[in-house]
Symmetry: C3
Subunit: 398 residues, 3 copies
């Protein structure tokens, strides 16, 4: 049983009564002066009971002021004094909640008020969440990886076995992985920027920014960060694979000593673009750390995530185009009449970059900017004058 | 002398009196209306005085309400307005402390209340702490590194000199380091998961989770994070060494062009496991960043640190087993009748993994889970029914 | 129009009135009981209006208690409930500000009080800041990169073309970049520690720490973190380039199979120093993350940033000296009578290290430490006794 409220250091004498459920028979009646009932309980899985525990408790002890919360703190953190700065959630009756919040603040906790006791179910589900916002991006990453794995096993390993009677199955571990990771990374990075471009066109078409996006676009936009971070993970794997490959592969192939300036430029540009793109990508990843991103102003954040992000996408796509180079002209590229993976993976990023290119054309960008600053195309003319943003304010009466 | 409280912007006129110790003769008597005496002093080293500075000050000025704190703020941060979000500690008389806390909160500081003035010594020691929780893990890392360094110098460098009359002392810089780092990393990673497994068996044996672990286990469990981060550091060094080696070593050795499918599979698996293990390890490290870990729910944190952690340990151990492969059969492996380092380093991780394997067997896991959910084996039968966790709550009377 | 204050969950009925500027004609008179006017407005660019929006608004509605703030929150964060832990700024009339601050705190926001309404201009400029503290370090990085790029293009590419009639222009992409990045990184790392050494000498010369540094030194010291992080970025690029080079370059050059123990020691030390230096550098970078650095005590922070920092600088400089080695003796090094870049880049770090070496000499360090603990050389002798730091305190009268 936890005693999170036991550290009261105030001058008034405090009495802490543990009213545990595990031994209900040994619990006496409530002592005189008991005022606040804090429910810290958690469930073993989601949807275990129809009703929130706190609501059930309120029915059991109708006169008590039940406050739900602090349930996200682990015994471990409590025992070892690792509370400072942790975020806790509270909900319940306002008076009692204020007392609990005050005590939690004294312990160095950051309290987030979730409103009345009707939010108890949400608060009880917090410790049971398992990356809900990562689910969709992970499905996309898994789906793309599986598709390209099968595609490459057929085109590379099985093709070599059937046509050349060669067993290169060992390539699955490194060589194939090093083809899958960049492809998935590039597609996911562009999927991270595509919804923003679509949203721009939608705002232009509607002529206003005050209408909500369709649900699918909203959900897509909400998981852009996760899409980007997964893309960064794949890019990191690709970088390590590329760095490890010369060592492991060089043993099996003879290196031609012939030299050609154009191909030297091409190879070097390929690597230079890869390095710069990866470097920018790591920067993007760093700014998505909560403690780093939190120190950025709005303009800085938008500069990093939009300008640097599109630059990263552009460099990565260029890297891929240079890799594909003139292979699309060679017949040997189309094994069993299928296009190579380096061609397939260019579709989504190219579409995204073209859409963005259209959006930054002055003739398209100007009306879009006006819309994003609050202009609406189907508003009476006389009111349009006051759009420029001075004195936009909100009044609150208490 | 710092004036951290000088930025009062309230409407009431405020008077700030610096009552410094460095020129006691030039300090006049206390002005009328002075109410709060904030002691910001720090010592040059721990245990410099028997008594806390603040307690001594309280004796000097008996009528003052001494508040100890804000001593962790540097002049630098104060001068340059870098206060927002910093955590400060306060202790002392409650009334006065509230005033100081309010002012500190206004400056954007996060105040942690450490209780009465008797905590002053602890607060004074904060700025002098030097990684207390890192000490034991660092000793372990240093001890293991020193042992394997000596072991490898004898087995590799001295052996080659004595038996083959070869001077390969230059290998100490890279080649030897690249043998020490993975070995130490793997052992420390398993030392990070071993105490959890031991704790599981102890809970099973005791039949309850409500008894404290023995002191050594408690302290071991408290430094798991540091053990893991040091292991990650060694793994990072190993990764860089491995990547740099082909370049530096290839110049000195001739590469055989003979090819064998099994050994290709082995080499590629070796690298693939290394890359995946390292990638997961980096993920683990990222979630141990306070700002990232703080955003995870309890279930997410336990998934990452337990499931992903054991997966990392398993991949790393498998990587090491594949590296050792069939060498243990060759007589040339046992130079001077000593086992190779790659064999020695497998002991602790193998034990850890076997212990964990036993713990996840359904027949062992089920009672353990019940114990961890609060079940106690030597409790009367009739009370056992109410174990299921509904309405576990804490009551507090004010 | 944002309704950030609409989530009031208090028991008292609240009325939220949006008093927008975009349709001034449709806004009626202020309702009864309206008390607080929160101005959330932002401008499109800095210095757009002479007067702060909030001040203008106060003139328009003279009787209102205007509070400026919350303008750094994006609509996106508001719509999606991503408020918890964000820092917001408030300024204005104290009474009203307290109400708004309370409400913001309830939403989980961290409020920083910026004082009276005269700070409104500063608050309005926050969302428009674009890395002000990064500007100078970025100029330095760009200037150094441009200089060494030109220098190396002339010395390497043009020299080879003119003297040997060779076209090695493709080297610009990787090989040249891999010479520029370490050079710029090393110089910027030493520029990060040079001002601290200069400050030490200045304090010794002045005999006190209580006089402000000259403006240029102050500004230089304030951007040390940015200088260091940029240096880390360049070091990271250098590391990746070095790792990628063997693979890309090895194809074009024949590797000599001759072996020499001294040069093996040299090459291996070169890489070992690079790896250790880079590893420490990454550690330095990690501790500069707000969430990591915030958990360090003053002594820990100073240990990492000063001791580990100088160790990193020393290792990197040693790495560069070993790279330069005996080349300065060869005539072929001085193409067109110019010194090589690896010689040029050693000037600033060497000066910094020598200055630091002087400062840590006991005869210099002792008086400096005394000065940094508050001792002043031109103070009367009798007051010097009380220097030892006991009871340094600040008194505040309210």
């Amino acid at each position: 049983m936890l005693h999170p409220l036991a550290s009261g250091d105030g001058p008034e004498p405090e009495l802490m009564v543990v009213y545990g459920s595990r031994r209900p028979h040994s619990c006496g009646p409530l002592p005189e002066g008991a005022q606040v009932l804090v429910d810290l309980s958690n469930n073993l899985k989601k949807g275990m009971y129809m009703e929130a525990n706190a609501v059930y408790l309120q029915r059991l002890v109708p006169k008590a002021a039940v406050v739900k919360g602090l349930n996200t703190l682990s015994t471990w953190a409590l025992q070892n004094g690792l509370l400072a700065g942790r975020q806790v959630y509270l909900c319940g009756n306002n008076e009692a909640k204020r007392d609990v919040a005050e005590m939690a603040t004294k312990l160095g906790l950051t309290v987030v008020d979730k409103g009345s006791l009707s939010a108890a179910k949400e608060v009880e589900d917090f410790p049971l969440e398992l990356f809900p916002e990562w689910r969709m991006p992970l499905y996309v990453a898994f789906g793309l990886s599986a598709f390209f794995f099968l595609y490459l096993v057929i085109r590379d390993v099985i093709y070599a076995y059937v046509e050349n009677d060669e067993d290169i199955s060992y390539r699955i571990m490194i060589s194939l992985a090093n083809k899958i990771t960049p492809v998935v990374s590039l597609i996911m990075l562009s999927l991270c920027y595509l919804p923003g471009a679509i949203a721009g066109f939608l705002q232009l078409y509607r002529g206003t920014k005050y209408r909500r996006f369709p649900n699918w676009l909203d959900r897509w936009m909400l998981c852009r960060k996760q899409l980007g971070l997964l893309a960064l993970g794949f890019a990191l794997l690709h970088a390590i694979y590329t760095l490890i490959l010369p060592g492991s592969r060089l043993k099996n192939t003879t290196t031609p000593l012939y030299f050609d300036n154009t191909s030297a430029w091409r190879t070097d540009s390929l690597y230079a673009l890869e390095i710069l793109g990866f470097f920018l990508f790591v920067l993007l990843g760093l700014t998505s750390l909560p403690s780093v991103g939190g120190t950025l102003s709005w303009r800085e954040f938008s500069f990093v995530q939009s300008t640097l992000g599109y630059l990263t996408l552009f460099l990565s796509t260029a890297h891929c185009y240079i890799y594909a180079w003139d292979r699309f002209l060679r017949k040997s590229t189309y094994k069993w009449y299928t296009p190579p993976d380096s061609m397939l993976c260019l579709i989504v990023p190219s579409v995204t970059l073209v859409l963005k290119l259209i959006l930054v054309l002055p003739c398209v960008n100007r009306p879009l900017m006006r819309i994003r600053q609050g202009w609406e195309c189907n508003r009476p003319q006389d009111e349009m004058a006051c759009t420029s943003g001075k004195v936009s304010s909100v009044l609150k009466s208490i």
